[in-house]
Structure formats: structure tokens, C-alpha cells
């Protein structure tokens, strides 16, 4: 949560929008801000007010599972890290009786007479990220929620499994505080349920139920957990694999049934349901978890009327497939669950996409309102002192402290040579801890900092920023990884984990003593992008970057732009995909900042973020282009497996073949009486391991198109799990109502093709009848899934890894969904993984946003980990220059002698030069020989000590 740290983000809490006027590019918004009753400038988040507040209220943050106080903060890492008074509960405000909090508050931050405020702000664009609302209590009550205490919601379980939550991670039955032995998870509560007007699928519950069930099982290894599904909808990237692994590991029971009703019998909950084979069951459980869906946000209607935006019939923002991030009002955009139920990665993608969308609209005023963050000058005097190390050992809540004895490590650290201050911190990365770090640096005159917490890969930049704020060079920090590489992996042996933590801290201190201030280099960026692939993703990404004001080189292998979208002839939303494509192509081809290279491939890419050089090859020859960033939008391809006689008979089609038929004369269809679609052909455990995400929607779409055109023909869809997530569930229902027959098969009994003479039949095992059915298939349509494109070669050129399925691996599944491990390279569309058009378009904009950031800044900062040659020592042998993989060392003449010199911007800090230097003349920033040898030596102190102890024991 870095939002609290950016000088360009002003967080206005307890605020609501009252009015909006103006138009895209220039709106005026009126905000109503409720009083907080605590002055954020003064509050130090010490928590005394909460301790002394006599008024207990139900803690909503903890799902009402515990009590909190009227003066409170929701959770320790909250931003802003300022407490607030709950006016509705506060005794002072309601009854004028108490003012304990004001009395105990040291900095006098409590202001009882604060008044609500109105504020007017002017903005160029509005982004709606309202999130989602809660399913109404009445819906849950149908399942006994509120009546039977052991019927709980998924959010309640979420808080309960949290180690810093109300039960400290213990799973207990609210009725009698015992551990439940048998637990049922019921899916689709408040989703896919027209009786509560929520006909849509909430998209996330199947996956989170599996996550919660897994965590519960970790807490209660004895428990038997059953999950009740209608369909298992784990369509996200890598989700099927994770789901199946969890089922196997934890031995969950998977039951296909919708449980209509729960009642309490004695101390148990009785579930009555009918399974697919028609059998009725009654089973007893100790606890039932309702996997509650996502409702439209509560205030959506009110806001919609203020803003004049359209909502769909479920109360979510109305958007179109071609423009998933736009409302009907220009300049007002939408992202996240308010656009439709979605999970975290999807929300992040949309959020990034919406940033690009705003940036397109406001390109010409970019930077006009932005504030540059300034840091105090470095305290060189302090830096020049003998090293004074401060060690901060993080609890990370319970993430570290439940395994590693943090206090013990802190005591140990305090006695290490060079350490002048050591303390333990609850969350070292929280805003107040960071402020405190600055304070402690000044108070104790620290000039080296060791943070024993999580991984430097994720958190070092944050602490480096803090050092800068304290007037220290950011290189003067060293982290000891006692979470990711210690408490999280050695939880079975707290003693050994604590010992390891001490060693890592000692080694970090040893290194810290030898750290030196380093200068951060800024490297100029070539303000243009290379977009590889001219399908929907590449077109949209290129267009967005160009609209944001930067040059784009768009490379397409084929003769025509458009990619896979060229073969799609209909969309569930009723929009015409070919029109969408045509518009995109027209805009791209006529854009003055986009240069299109058709029938061209990328032969080579060299360089680094900000300064790439690529060789493009076409029949005309090769061309060299310079660019600052790369977007990979190379797409995927229709998987055409050698299954089901595909390619042998012209009556056997893929869904895309069918789309071509439907757009043309449809002569094959016209002759047929019965059309059968088979889902997951080649996918989900056949030759492709994963789910291709869009085939179910595609099948439903095409089935509907068939039924509309030929109402008399029989249309069958044979599926494993129908994955019409989100609002496409409506189409699934519509298809059933229109008479399309949906039949479920199991992975063990997939349907088979039977040929009788010239006729085709599909053999399907019907669970209800308990026997095989033979369904005539005059036309057989296969939902074949999406295979990765030829990503391997590109992956090698760009040096970015692929997933085991052959798609590009994002840098972080949730928080960096479009960035690759290589800086300056981004991915979108099918190259990232299978997904439908609206998601591809949103992701293309997300990639465009991320890619534009360095272009807009104009420079990238090079971490000061680069090599430096000591020209006094250098003997000019040139080995380093020859060995450097990045060509980052050149030989220059100094006087009469040759000497090596580093080209800082090209250096990646790998250190090959240093390890091969005959005379140790090359130092690596932050990784000097001296520092590493000191770490090794410090490692040895432990070894020596222990062997001495052993020797003593033996004696």
C-alpha cells in the first residue's frame, strides 16, 4: 500500500460525492466530508484512545465477530494511520458524558467539535472503483444464517482464519467454542439465484472457498471438509491447477448439488440435498460456511443519479465489450468489481487500464498538476561517522513472530558489534513504523540500517525511500529475510528458525558495517514503444500509448492486422466484433504516432528499460528501431487437437469454424437437425492442462445464435463445468430457456464419438438415468480451447520466463499482472493466457499504462548496484570487457595505459567482471568483496560458537 506515500495522491476519507458538473477534461466535484474527530496531523497512532474508550461496539472490520471501541483504527496498517471516533457510538457525542480519550491523548489530537466539511475539487476525469456490496441478510437467512450460530459467512471465516483476527486464527464454532470436525462450504449464496434478483455469477467464490477450505484444513488437519458446487468455476490463469492440487492435498469432498435448506438437529446442522444421480441425501455437519457472492455496491444507485451513468439490471456499471472501462458519460470511467464481479488480478488489470484511459484523455495536461517529491539533502556528516547500525526486527503481525522469537532476535542483535540500537516492530512496513524509523534514525544518529523482515526483493525500495526521507543514502540499508526464507518455510521448527534469523541478522549487520553511500543514476528513456502483435490486444495497446502521446512501432507477423478476432463473428453483448476490429484498425492505421510493420517479425531485442534496440525482419530486409519499452501481444492460437475426428469430416467443426458458418450461408447447419457441442476438447486435463476460460461463453453464445436462427433444431452442449462467469450467466440461463440442452459429463466419463455409417453420434453417460445416451450429431462442434502461440523464441530473446503451460509469466500474479520479470517489458492478451475480448482490451490498456510510465517520466533510475573499476588497481587486461554479457565495460586510454570503465546505464550488476578480475580492481555497488567476505565471516562466527559449545558439552 504505497498510496499513502505518493505526494500526488491525496487521500480523502470519510467522504462522499454530492455533486458533479462539467464535462470530460474538466469536472467540478462537490464532496461532503464527515468529521473524523481526530486530527491526523497530531495523531501518532499510539492507540491509547482505544485502550481507554469505555464504549464497546461491534467490530465491523472483523465481521462483527468481536467488539471494538468507539475510538479506534480498523487495523494496524490502515492508511491513513490515524484513529477516528465513531460518532454514532461515542458517549461524549451522544450523551455528553465522557471524554476519556481526550484526556489520555498525549498530542491532544481529539477534536470533539469538528464539523462536517464541504469541499470542491476540479478534476479532468472521474474513476469509479466502488467495489462491491454485500448480499442482503435476508438471502443468507434462507440458509439459517442469523438463526443457527454455526452457519457462517465466508467473510467471517476469512477473519477467523487470520492470525491477527478475532480468534487469532483458531477455527471455532460460535455456538460452543469447539473445533468443528465436519464442515460444509455452500457455493452460490446470493449468486446465480434469480430468486434474490442476482442471476449473475460472482466469479470469485469457487476460488476463495477453496482457499478458505485449505486454510481451515491447515488449522484443523482432522476436519473433513465438503464443498457443494453447481459448477466449479476456477477459470483464472493457473486456478484449475491450484484447485485440483488443493483437493488432492487436503482430501476435500466435492459434491455437485445445490443445498436448498439447512436446519439444526441437536448440536449439528443437517443438510438435505439431491445429487445428480437423483438420490436424496441428509448429512450432518458441525459448521456450514456460506460462500457469499458479490452484490452491486450499495451506493451505486445514488451515485448513478448524481453522475448520470447507466447501471445494468443488477445495479453494476453498464459497460460494453468494446469499451469495458467506460460508462455512458464521457470522462467517467469504471474499474474493479463495480464493473462486474471479479477477482483481485482482474481488478488490478482494470485499474491499470483505467489509468491509461484517463491518461489518454488528459495527455496534453500531463504533469501540470503533479508535485515532485523532494528529499532532504543527505547528512554527509552522519554518513561519515563510524558505522552506527540500527536493527529493526519485524513481527509482520504473526507471520514472523508466531515462529521466530522476535524479542530474542532483537536482544541478540543489540549485542552485535556496531549495533547502537535494536528494536522489534509489529509491522515494519506500516506507515507509522516508517515514520518511526525516520525518527529513530535521527534520535540515535543511525547511519546504517538493518531491517529483519521480509524479502528485499519486495520491500527494500520502500525502506530505501524512508532512508532518503531521513537524509541517509538509500544504499545504507541491508535486509535480513526472516519471513519468506525463514518463518514461512521453517514453521515446523521454531527454534531452528530463530537460530537462522539470528545468523541472518548477524550476517546482515556485518554487511551493513561495510556499506557505502552510492549514487543513483538516472538514464534517459527513448520515448517510444515496440508493440509485438497486431491482434486485438496489440492494436488496443498501441492505440492507447499513441493517444497518451508517445510513438509506437506495431509489428504484425501476418499480412493483415486483427489476429484471432478476425474469426469471431458474434458477441454475447450483441455488439459486432468485426465492427470493433475495423474501428480499431482504422484508428491505428491512421494514427500519426503509430507506425505499422506488417509481415514483419522481431529478430532480436537488446538493451534495457528505457533504451531497447530491436531488429525487425521483413521480406524487404531488416530494420533497426530504438524504443524505451516493449509490449508483448503476440496472442495465442486455436488449439486443433487430433481428437474427435477433427479435420476428418466436414461435419465436425470448432467453435470458430461454426462462427464462420454462422456469418456465411450456414449450409452445413441448415441441413442438420441436431447439433452437439462438446466442451473442453483438448483442455482441462487432456492435451492442454488448463481451462481456456472463454469457450463456455463462446458455446453459449453460438448455441443462442443457432436457436434464434433455427428454433426447431436440437442444440446440445456437453460440458464438465459450465463456466459462464459474471454476467454471461444470464446468457446461459437464456440458452436453457430457449431450449438448448446442457448435459454435464465427468472427467472419468467424457463423451465419445460413435460413427454409424455416415451418421455421427455422441455417447454420453447420463448420471440421472444411470445409463449411456446416444445423441445424434448432424453437426459436431468442438470447443477446443486456446494454445499458446510461439512464445518460446520470444521468451528467449527477451529473457522472460514462460509458465509451464507456455504463456508469459507475469512478475506477480496479483499486483503486477501485466509486467514481466524483465523491466520495461509488458504482456497482454492471449500471450498472457486465454481470456475473452473485453478482458483482453482492458488488459491491453493496463499494459499500455505500465509501459507509458517510463515514457512519461522520461528517465529511469538505475539501481546503484553497478560495477566500478578502481583504475589505480586496473592492469588493463580487458578480461572484464570481453566477459561482460551486456557490453557494459569499455576499455579507455588513461595516459598511456589502457583501463577498464563501466558504462553505468548498461550494467546489470551481475558481477562477472568482479569475479574474473585478476587483481580485485572491480567493486560492485552494494555487493563489494569486502561486504560479501564479511558476511561469510559472520556466518562463521556462528559455526565456531556452536562447535565450541558442542566441544564443551562433549567435555
Amino acid at each position: 500500500m504505497e498510496a499513502g506515500r505518493s505526494p500526488n495522491i491525496e487521500i480523502i476519507t470519510l467522504a462522499e460525492l454530492k455533486e458533479l458538473s462539467g464535462k470530460a477534461g474538466h469536472f467540478k466535484a462537490k464532496l461532503f466530508i464527515k468529521p473524523r474527530y481526530v486530527d491526523p496531523q497530531k495523531c501518532t497512532a499510539c492507540g491509547l484512545c482505544t485502550t481507554y474508550c469505555p464504549r464497546e461496539v461491534i467490530d465491523e472490520y472483523n465481521e462483527g465477530l468481536v467488539y471494538t471501541k468507539a475510538a479506534r483504527i480498523d487495523y494496524p496498517q490502515a492508511i491513513p494511520t490515524t484513529y477516528y471516533l465513531d460518532a454514532k457510538a461515542c458517549l461524549r457525542m451522544q450523551h455528553e458524558s465522557c471524554q476519556l480519550c481526550a484526556n489520555v491523548c498525549g498530542p491532544n489530537a481529539i477534536v470533539f467539535d469538528q464539523l462536517p466539511e464541504e469541499r470542491e475539487i476540479e478534476v479532468g476525469a472521474v474513476v469509479l472503483t466502488l467495489g462491491f456490496g454485500r448480499i442482503p441478510q435476508e438471502v443468507l437467512e434462507k440458509y439459517g444464517y442469523g438463526k443457527y450460530p454455526d452457519v457462517m459467512t465466508s467473510m467471517e471465516i476469512e477473519r477467523m482464519t487470520c492470525a491477527s483476527g478475532p480468534t487469532e486464527g483458531e477455527i471455532i464454532r460460535p455456538s460452543d467454542f469447539t473445533h468443528p470436525q465436519r464442515i460444509a462450504f455452500l457455493q452460490c449464496i446470493g449468486s446465480r439465484d434469480v430468486t434474490c434478483d442476482n442471476g449473475y455469477c460472482s466469479s470469485v467464490c469457487c476460488m476463495y472457498a477453496m482457499k478458505e477450505a485449505s486454510v481451515v484444513k491447515e488449522h484443523l488437519p482432522e476436519a473433513q471438509i465438503d464443498l457443494f458446487f453447481m459448477d466449479i468455476r476456477t477459470q483464472g490463469k493457473g486456478f484449475d491447477e491450484a484447485f485440483n492440487r488443493a483437493v488432492e492435498k487436503y482430501g476435500f469432498g466435492i459434491i455437485y448439488a445445490r443445498v436448498p435448506k439447512i436446519d439444526q438437529v441437536g448440536r449439528k446442522l443437517a443438510l438435505t440435498y439431491v445429487t445428480e444421480d437423483g438420490k436424496s441425501h441428509r448429512e450432518f455437519y458441525d459448521m456450514v460456511v456460506l460462500s457469499v457472492g458479490l452484490d452491486a455496491p450499495k451506493d451505486a444507485e445514488n451515485l448513478a443519479s448524481i453522475l448520470g451513468i447507466e447501471l445494468n439490471h443488477y445495479g453494476f456499471a453498464q459497460t460494453r465489450t468494446s469499451s469495458p472501462l467506460e460508462t455512458n458519460v464521457p470522462g467517467i470511467f469504471v474499474a474493479g468489481a463495480f464493473q462486474g464481479p471479479k477477482d483481485i488480478p482482474e481488478s488490478v488489470v482494470q485499474a491499470q487500464g483505467v489509468a491509461a484511459r484517463c491518461s489518454e484523455l488528459l495527455a496534453e495536461v500531463r504533469g501540470e498538476e503533479a508535485i515532485l517529491k523532494e528529499f532532504p539533502p543527505e547528512d554527509e556528516e552522519l554518513e561519515a561517522l563510524e558505522p552506527r547500525v540500527g536493527v529493526f526486527v519485524c513481527h509482520c503481525g504473526v507471520n514472523i513472530a508466531s515462529v521466530v522469537d522476535v524479542e530474542d532476535v532483537t536482544r541478540y542483535a543489540a549485542n552485535l558489534p556496531g549495533v547502537v540500537h535494536a528494536e522489534d516492530v509489529l509491522y515494519s512496513c506500516s506507515q507509522d513504523a516508517l515514520n518511526d524509523l525516520v525518527k529513530k534514525i535521527k534520535e540515535h544518529r543511525l547511519n546504517r540500517v538493518v531491517i529483519a523482515a521480509c524479502s528485499p526483493r519486495t520491500h527494500e525500495p520502500l525502506f530505501q525511500e524512508t532512508l532518503k526521507e531521513a537524509g541517509l543514502n538509500p544504499a545504507l540499508i541491508e535486509m535480513a529475510n526472516i519471513r519468506d526464507q525463514c518463518s514461512w518455510v521453517h514453521y515446523f521448527d521454531p527454534q531452528a528458525a530463530t537460530a537462522k534469523a539470528k545468523d541472518q541478522v548477524r550476517m546482515a549487520v556485518a554487511k551493513a558495517l561495510r556499506l557505502k553511500p552510492l549514487e543513483t543514476q538516472k538514464v534517459k528513456v527513448t520515448p517510444s514503444a515496440l508493440v509485438i502483435g497486431g491482434g486485438a490486444a496489440g492494436l488496443q495497446a498501441a492505440l492507447s500509448i499513441a493517444e497518451q502521446g508517445y510513438e509506437v512501432h506495431l509489428v504484425e507477423r501476418e499480412r493483415e492486422l486483427g489476429g484471432n478476432l478476425r474469426r469471431v463473428t458474434g458477441l454475447l453483448s450483441g455488439e459486432d466484433p468485426q465492427k470493433i476490429l475495423e474501428t480499431l484498425i482504422k484508428q491505428v492505421e491512421s494514427h500519426k504516432r503509430i507506425r505499422v510493420y506488417k509481415e514483419t517479425t522481431v529478430e532480436n531485442i537488446s538493451g534495457y528499460v528505457g533504451n531497447f534496440t530491436s531488429t525487425l525482419r521483413s521480406q524487404a530486409g531488416s530494420e533497426i528501431v530504438n524504443h524505451g519499452v516493449v509490449i508483448i501481444a503476440t496472442g495465442g492460437k486455436e488449439h486443433r487437437p487430433a481428437l474427435w475426428g477433427l479435420g476428418e469430416e466436414d461435419k465436425i467443426l470448432t467453435q470458430l469454424d461454426l462462427e464462420a458458418e454462422l456469418a456465411g450461408k450456414a449450409s452445413k447447419i441448415a441441413r442438420a437437425r441436431s447439433i452437439v457441442m462438446i466442451q473442453c476438447v483438448g483442455s482441462r486435463g487432456q492435451d492442454l492442462k488448463y481451462c481456456s476460460k472463454l469457450c463456455c461463453q463462446q458455446a453459449v453464445k453460438n448455441a443462442l445464435r443457432l436457436k434464434k436462427r433455427y428454433p426447431k433444431k436440437d442444440v446440445y452442449v456437453l460440458y464438465g463445468n459450465m463456466r459462464t462467469y459474471g454476467f454471461s450467466e444470464d446468457a446461459y440461463r437464456e440458452a436453457r430457456e430457449a431450449g438448448v440442452i446442457f448435459l454435464r459429463f465427468t472427467p472419468q466419463k467424457r463423451p465419445e464419438l460413435i460413427k454409424k455409417g455416415k451418421s455421427l453420434y455422441v455417447k454420453h453417460y447420463d448420471a440421472l438415468l444411470g445409463e449411456d445416451l446416444l445423441i445424434p450429431a448432424d453437426v459436431l462442434v468442438l470447443s477446443v480451447g486456446i494454445a499458446p502461440g510461439d512464445n518460446e523464441e520470444l521468451s528467449k530473446i527477451i529473457k522472460a520466463p514462460l509458465t509451464s503451460d507456455g504463456f508469459f509469466l507475469e512478475a506477480h500474479v496479483k499486483l503486477m499482472p501485466v509486467e514481466l520479470a524483465v523491466d520495461g517489458v509488458y504482456v497482454c492478451g492471449l500471450a498472457h493466457g486465454p481470456k475473452p475480448l473485453d478482458e483482453t482490451l482492458a488488459q491491453a490498456r493496463a499494459a499500455a499504462a505500465k509501459a507509458t510510465i517510463p515514457l512519461a517520466k522520461g528517465y529511469v533510475e538505475v539501481a546503484p548496484i553497478v560495477s566500478r573499476v578502481d583504475q589505480q588497481k586496473c592492469i588493463g587486461c580487458g578480461i572484464c570487457a570481453d566477459l561482460c554479457p551486456y557490453g557494459a565495460i569499455q576499455m579507455i586510454k588513461v595516459g598511456k595505459r589502457k583501463k577498464a570503465e563501466t558504462i553505468t546505464a548498461s550494467c546489470k550488476g551481475c558481477g562477472i567482471c568482479a569475479s574474473h578480475c585478476p587483481v580485485f580492481a572491480i567493486e560492485m555497488g552494494g555487493f563489494t568483496d569486502e561486504a560479501i567476505l564479511a558476511q561469510i565471516e559472520a556466518f562463521g562466527d556462528f559455526a565456531e560458537k556452536e562447535s565450541q559449545e558442542e566441544a564443551e558439552k562433549a567435555a
Binding site: 504505497e2 498510496a3 505518493s6 500526488n8 495522491i9 487521500i11 480523502i12 476519507t13 470519510l14 467522504a15 462522499e16 477534461g25 474538466h26 472490520y61 480498523d74 487495523y75 496498517q77 490502515a78 475539487i121 478534476v123 479532468g124 476525469a125 472521474v126 474513476v127 469509479l128 472503483t129 466502488l130 467495489g131 477453496m210 486454510v215 493457473g238 486456478f239 491450484a242 455496491p297 474493479g336 468489481a337 463495480f338 483481485i344 481488478s347 488490478v348 485499474a351 491499470q352 489509468a355 491509461a356 484517463c358 491518461s359 488528459l362 496534453e364 495536461v365 500531463r366 504533469g367 498538476e369 503533479a370 509482520c396 503481525g397 496479483k814 499504462a849 505500465k850 512519461a856 517520466k857
Partner: protein, 59 residues
Amino acid sequence: MGKDKVGKVMVLGGGIAGVQAALDLAELGFYVYLVEKKASIGGVMAQLDKTFPTNDCSI
């Protein structure tokens, strides 16, 4: 027309999507008002213990 535009954006809702949008907009050179109804930002994600499939802590 161009002069008319304002280089600021209002993001309504401080959940994960709002925070992410605000961060990227700020990086892209715009000033952002992140407007939240509640006393702190973070939305539902701050309530989640771990997130699937990587089980990262959510903050």
C-alpha cells in the same frame, strides 16, 4: 479546448482497484484525489488474510 483540461483525477472508492488506479495515475503524471467513504482505504482486500493462489499477505 486543450487549455481547458485539468491534470487531476478523482478516484471514487479506495479498494484495491481504486488504490491501484491512483498509484498508476500518479506515476503517469497526474494528481489524484482518492475519495473513500470509510475511515481508511484498502477496501475488502484489507480484510482478507491471504489471497489465492500465492497466499501472499494482502497488504
